[in-house]
């Protein structure tokens, strides 16, 4: 790559860097971000990403509403979050700068496409009198590098026969090439990607490749950039890695679960942000006996999944808050039928349509409490993109082995975020054993036995008899059923008995959990931080830092929201204070208070954006002081 004759520029070493790419949603900066992430992961850095999309697919060009972002945190040290404040902000236009400047550290680097700062862009971005921040001195506290990416890309593609519009689409590759240079990375991975993507369109392949190389050489030759950065490989555990997003992790966990149960997987789904990627991913793996069904609505999505489970497959549905609301009645049916079903809620900002592309943890009560009647359904929550795999697998285990619907909560933050995954070997995953029951063929002694579809084993679990099995014909439904037989019953005492039996069955699922384990910190002390879901990385980072500073702060992260781990009650008593950070107004906090009579305090953020670790750190310190 290095063919210039100038002396190499100095290289400055950094342990970790946060870089945010931002531009119009049509600028292709998501691709720049994912490619740069891949390159760093391949190099050996630990990485964590956070794509942040606008709700509109193509908002008016140049407006604040159209700004799309991709944040990457990479390092030679362990990384738990996509980072709080950025070291480097790459902006394709004025709106992208205006929307993200508050995320840049003082003294941070701005790389701006100066072509995106003309009068119209400045006005759309809300700069008064179209004053250009790149030149008016307002960015004096930052290192500003204005680069006319548009012009440089066009120049690089002078010989290309492509139209101007298509040439301009290569801008994101110019930026990628430049950033690769800036952080001492090669273009190799990106070139491989381009070959795969544009292999059949040679002119597009050539143009994108030229833009990529031009960006790289621009870094080397331009006088304005005096320093390159180097982030060494992280001491990650040895092994083979891949990158994975939370939604991919969920999809793979579900398939792995079905495979380990030797069942076909049926996925009923209606498209919704931010859960649709699960549908897309699953639909690519039909050779695993995966059937995906894009239903006419959310109710049909879960109804069809119930029908598939009834037929002996693993039925799964997923959605986000508004869709889950529509599925509620059918969730009650699955619970009454006592058949396996996994319901994934990739949470987003609510209520109602809320903030489709933003993240929140405000569906916890909906999951635990939100049904008519006494309707206990186990609720799990994933904490990281990788954890989505583990928790999806566990959701399948519980659904199949305990004959129950299970809710898995993830959220937009981890669903779209990605991290390196030292994926497991298939053999290392446990077999899943649903409570199947043998057919009773006519003429055999068993045929004379009455089949009791609601007879329970010692865990309270009923057998799974599947249509087609001789001698096990039975009827099930949403009406209250007689104990053992499953026949309709309006008997008052039977109803109370059945309500208790269903509750007990779900309560006993806690027997299978591993003992509760602190994520970090002392076994007793001043304060316990109780987290759940995607706040994991921010809480972990903050807790580790405070422990280093000598505070008796511990962190436990809950993956089982209902029923709780039996060790949680005793653990809470080991600390003087309990703090519950949540991206809602205090839903877990209330559940903990109700269950354990503990004076848990809340640290709450309801802005559609994840916590920064600094926000958590300050919250903990305030709690310690109070």
């Amino acid at each position: 790559m290095s063919i210039n004759t100038k002396p190499p520029k100095p290289v400055e070493e950094r342990s970790n860097v946060v870089i945010l790419f931002a531009g119009d949603s049509g600028d292709g900066i998501q691709l720049t971000g994912t490619q740069f992430t891949g390159t760093n992961a391949l190099f050996g850095n630990d990485v964590s990403t956070f794509p942040n999309y606008p709700a509109e697919i193509r908002a008016p060009i140049g407006t604040l509403a159209g700004v799309s972002g991709f944040q990457l945190h990479f390092g030679s040290v362990e990384i738990f979050t996509p980072g709080d404040q950025c070291d480097v902000l790459v902006v394709m236009n004025a709106a992208a700068l205006s929307a993200n400047l508050d995320k840049l550290k003082p003294g941070g680097i701005i790389i701006a496409n100066s072509d995106g700062f003309d009068k119209k862009n400045l006005r759309l971005a809300g700069y008064i009198d179209a004053a250009d921040p790149l030149t008016d001195g307002s960015l004096v506290n930052f290192q500003v590098h204005a680069v006319d990416v548009t012009k440089l890309t066009r120049t690089a593609l002078e010989d290309s026969t492509l139209g101007m519009k298509e040439k301009d689409r290569c801008k994101n590759m110019f930026v990628l090439g430049f950033i690769n240079w800036m952080f001492s990375r090669e273009n190799t991975l990106a070139e491989g990607f381009l070959e795969k993507k544009f292999g059949k369109k040679p002119d597009l392949l050539e143009a994108n490749r030229k833009a990529l190389v031009a960006g790289y050489f621009y870094g080397e030759t331009s006088e304005t950039f005096t320093t390159r950065f180097e982030v060494k490989a992280a001491p990650l555990p040895k092994g083979t890695y891949r990158a994975i997003t939370g939604n991919q992790g969920t999809a793979l966990g579900l398939i792995a679960g079905a495979q380990k149960a030797k069942l076909d997987l049926f996925y009923g789904s209606y498209p919704i942000t931010p859960a649709s990627e699960i549908l897309h991913e699953l639909s690519r793996h039909k050779n695993f006996g995966v059937i995906t069904f894009q239903a006419e609505d959310e109710i049909a999505a879960i109804g069809s999944a119930i029908g598939a489970s009834y037929g002996g497959a693993l039925g799964i549905t997923a959605s986000s808050g508004p869709g889950i609301a529509l599925k509620t009645e059918a969730m009650g049916l699955a619970l009454m039928l006592e058949i396996p079903l996994v319901i994934v809620n990739v949470q987003r900002g609510g209520p109602s349509t809320g903030l489709p592309t933003k993240t929140e943890q405000a569906d916890l009560w909906q999951a635990v409490l939100g049904r008519n009647g006494e309707a206990p359904i186990p609720v799990l929550a994933a904490s990281t993109p990788i954890d989505c795999f583990d928790m999806a697998f566990e959701a399948v285990q519980i659904a199949l082995e305990h004959m129950t619907p299970v809710i898995l909560l993830t959220d937009g933050y981890i669903a779209n975020g990605s991290e390196p995954w030292r994926f497991p070997a298939a053999d290392s995953l446990p077999e899943i054993k649903p409570p199947f029951i043998a057919s009773r063929e006519a003429g055999t002694p068993s045929a004379a036995e009455a089949f009791l579809p609601y007879a329970r084993d010692e865990r309270g679990v009923r057998p799974w008899a599947i249509p087609g099995q001789a001698g096990l014909q039975h009827r099930i439904g949403g009406i209250e059923k007689q104990d053992l037989t499953g026949n309709i019953s309006y008997d008052p005492r039977n109803h109370e008995k059945m309500v208790r039996l269903r509750a007990e069955k779900v309560a006993r699922i806690a027997d299978r959990y591993k003992p509760i384990r602190l994520d970090s910190g002392p076994a007793e002390g001043e304060l316990l931080v109780v987290g759940w879901g995607s706040t994991y990385g921010a809480i972990r980072t903050a807790a580790l830092q405070l422990q280093k500073e000598g505070h008796a702060v511990a962190h436990v992260h809950l993956r089982h929201l209902f029923p709780f781990n039996k060790g949680l009650g005793p653990l809470l008593k080991n600390y003087q204070k309990v703090l519950v950070p949540e991206m809602n107004s205090g839903q877990l906090r209330q559940l903990l208070r109700a269950e354990y009579l503990v004076d848990a305090q809340g640290l709450n953020k309801i802005q559609g954006m994840p916590f920064t670790s600094e926000e958590i750190r300050v919250g903990i310190l305030n709690q310690l002081k109070s």
Binding site: L42, Y241, A256, A301, G307, S309, G311, F423, A426, R475
Partner: protein, 356 residues
Amino acid sequence: MSTVNGIGETPAHEGGSARNDKAEKIDFSSDQEIRWCPGCGDYSILKQVETLLAQSGKKKEDVVFISGIGCSSRFPYYMDTYGMHSIHGRAPTIVSGLRSVRPDLSVWMVTGDGDAMSIGGNHIIHLLRRNVDVNVLLFNNQIYGLTKGQYSPTSPEGAVTRSTPMGSTDHPFNPLALVKGADGTFIARSMDRDPKHMREVLARADAHRGTSFLEIYQNCNVFNDGAFEVFTEKASKPDHVLFMEHGKPLLFANGTKGIKLDGMTPVILDLSTGAHSADDCWVHNERDGFKASILVRLFDDPRLQGAMPRPFGVFFVADRPTHEEKLQAQVKRAKEVKGPGDLDKLLQGEHTWTIG
């Protein structure tokens, strides 16, 4: 069903509830007490379905009944097969999922005019366009029975019910026109009080691959008694019922009247004067989709002067691959092309890197 409850002892008409009169039918009856009102048209339908299944030679364990909510939806409990009494309007969704993974079963869906045409309207049209292989029995009684007498989406305009004391202001659905509009591949109508006809049409529905949609006029003798009596009573039946037979002219009124297509408009021919004969009449062709669209539109209020007769029998049949066939074919093809799923390869993904 050896111990029929008292209800069944006094059938109000030929569709009564006696379930133990023929040995062959006992096979498909469950041990559950039937809880429909005495004299309900549902008894007749249950009896004919049991008879058909017993004669079909199907194994009990290979038959599944799925229902929604409503009087008719209690049906699965009375069959000694697999069955699910699900939630209101959602039976088509359960059927779609079940069918997707189990193309081997005989699946029946029992629904009513409220269940299928109102709360479950969206699901019904999608079931039809996908052509899921299921026999749909729509028990149409033009009233909400289980909730005690409110008008339904098939109640005629002006219907005075508990929720419409001044008469319904809603224009009703013509269920089979809706089915035709959603590209149903088997469209038929029968009535509770003509068991022989019902059995024949049930057999046709069962034989069809795809969504067989059978509307059955069913009398609710408690909340809407006599809604269909013009079609079911001996005196009025000949003039108001047109029994369609494939390949035969459309005749009614004991052969004294026939239907002819005048352009796109059906007209009644009087065959008694000698001016016209059966040869002048429209010859029914079940495979003719365009003409079926006209036939399902024969939906005049029978009280009106010069009303067209209401057709019964099979309107339309089309061969179209079923939804589950196409789904399963994709799975099969994916396995052929990619090989059976290798979990290790899946977890590994397309790009990996090694550390250490």
